[in-house]
């Protein structure tokens, strides 16, 4: 009887826990650019430029909102796209989680 109870707890507990960790944001899809996928299959030795932390490098951080010249992005857009408006601390309605 005790063994059956322990068995049920061991098997049943993970089933109860699993749905609890699912989040709202879990259902999304991602498309990585093709060259990036190929690069992951390339041995590191084949890459000519080695990434080093102390090199001056470009980053994805947008610190200034500089405007583009007219026609800068022309020809690149096949669908309606908008540039992301970066978050400014405290701007907009307060977030309640």
């Amino acid at each position: 009887m005790k063994k059956s109870l322990i068995f049920l707890i061991l098997v049943g507990l993970p089933l109860l826990v699993l749905p609890a960790v699912k989040t709202d944001g879990a259902d999304f899809s991602q498309q990585r650019e093709g060259a990036l996928l190929n690069a992951r299959e390339t041995p590191p030795a084949a890459v000519g430029v080695q990434e080093e932390t102390n090199q001056p490098r470009l980053t994805p951080r947008i610190l200034k909102s500089k405007s583009a010249d007219a026609g800068l992005e022309a020809g690149a857009q096949q669908e309606k796209r908008d540039r992301y408006k970066p978050y400014i601390a405290g701007e907009g309605e307060k977030k309640i989680k």
């Binding site: 989040t23 709202d24 944001g25 259902d27 999304f28 899809s29 991602q30 498309q31 990585r32 650019e33 093709g34 060259a35 990036l36 190929n38 690069a39 890459v47 000519g48 430029v49 080695q50 990434e51 102390n54 090199q55 001056p56 490098r57 470009l58 980053t59 994805p60 951080r61 947008i62 610190l63 200034k64 909102s65 500089k66 405007s67 583009a68 010249d69 800068l72 992005e73 690149a76 669908e79 309606k80 796209r81 908008d82 540039r83 992301y84 408006k85 970066p86 978050y87 400014i88 601390a89 405290g90 701007e91 907009g92 309605e93 307060k94 977030k95 989680k97």
Partner: protein, 215 residues
């Protein structure tokens, strides 16, 4: 002076002289930045863009740090992966830089600010895959509701920031946002009818388009 003391004196003098020479040789007031080097025949400052990413860089912009426009594309042709390009004859000063990639799914940018350009020096600037922004597509999968406002902010943000929509998005249509720094984001959708929808921890990665269906 006794011979032993003289030897010691000569030895100490030699050590001092050696240390002084080593110190002079290593220190160069002009070398505030170890990553730039002599420009050789270049008369003014040069920026060398080194594409260490796996993507082709389609355009590159360099504008004075105090200017609020990026100006024209400075690349004659696109810059392939593992190639480099020199931007010549740059007047000394501080500059902001932007490299742009147009991919299969979206477009991405990489930035660097306050780059010191000096006369007769070459500044090496590297771009890697992780240097670039990511993109986010939000698809309206509702049966008949229209998105009237969309907020996308980093998970750590305490408020919802600016509305990302310039016009309402109806059923089946989508909003494609580009130039987003990599990280995890919270999304809030305001509908024309019904309560708001909120989604947490949506990842945005470099050179990647994340698609999120909302309803």
């Amino acid at each position: 002076m006794k011979p032993a003391k003289r030897k010691l004196f000569v030895l100490m003098a030699a050590i001092c002289l050696g240390l002084a020479l080593i110190g002079t040789g290593c220190h160069d007031d002009d070398d505030d930045y170890h990553h730039d080097h002599d420009g050789g025949y270049y008369g003014s400052g040069t920026l060398r863009l080194i594409n260490g990413s796996t993507m082709t860089i389609d355009s590159f912009y360099l504008s004075p740090a105090d200017r609020w426009s990026w100006g024209p594309n400075l690349l004659y042709t696109s810059l392939p992966s593992l190639a480099s390009a020199d931007i010549l004859d740059i007047t000394a000063g501080l500059y902001d830089a932007r490299a742009r990639v147009v991919g299969q799914y979206s477009e991405y940018s990489a930035y660097s600010y306050d780059i010191p350009i000096r006369e007769r020096r070459i500044y090496d600037l590297y771009a890697y895959d992780s240097s670039f922004t990511g993109s986010l597509r939000i698809v309206n999968r509702s049966a008949g509701a229209t998105m009237v406002a969309v907020y996308v902010v980093p998970v750590a943000a305490t408020s919802w920031g600016a509305n990302q929509l310039s016009a309402p998005v109806g059923p089946g249509a989508s909003l494609h946002l580009y130039d987003i720094a990599d990280g995890d984001y919270d999304i809030r959708i305001v509908w024309d009818t019904g309560p708001d929808s909120i989604y947490h921890d949506i990842p945005v990665d470099s050179l990647t388009l994340t698609t999120k269906d909302v309803s």
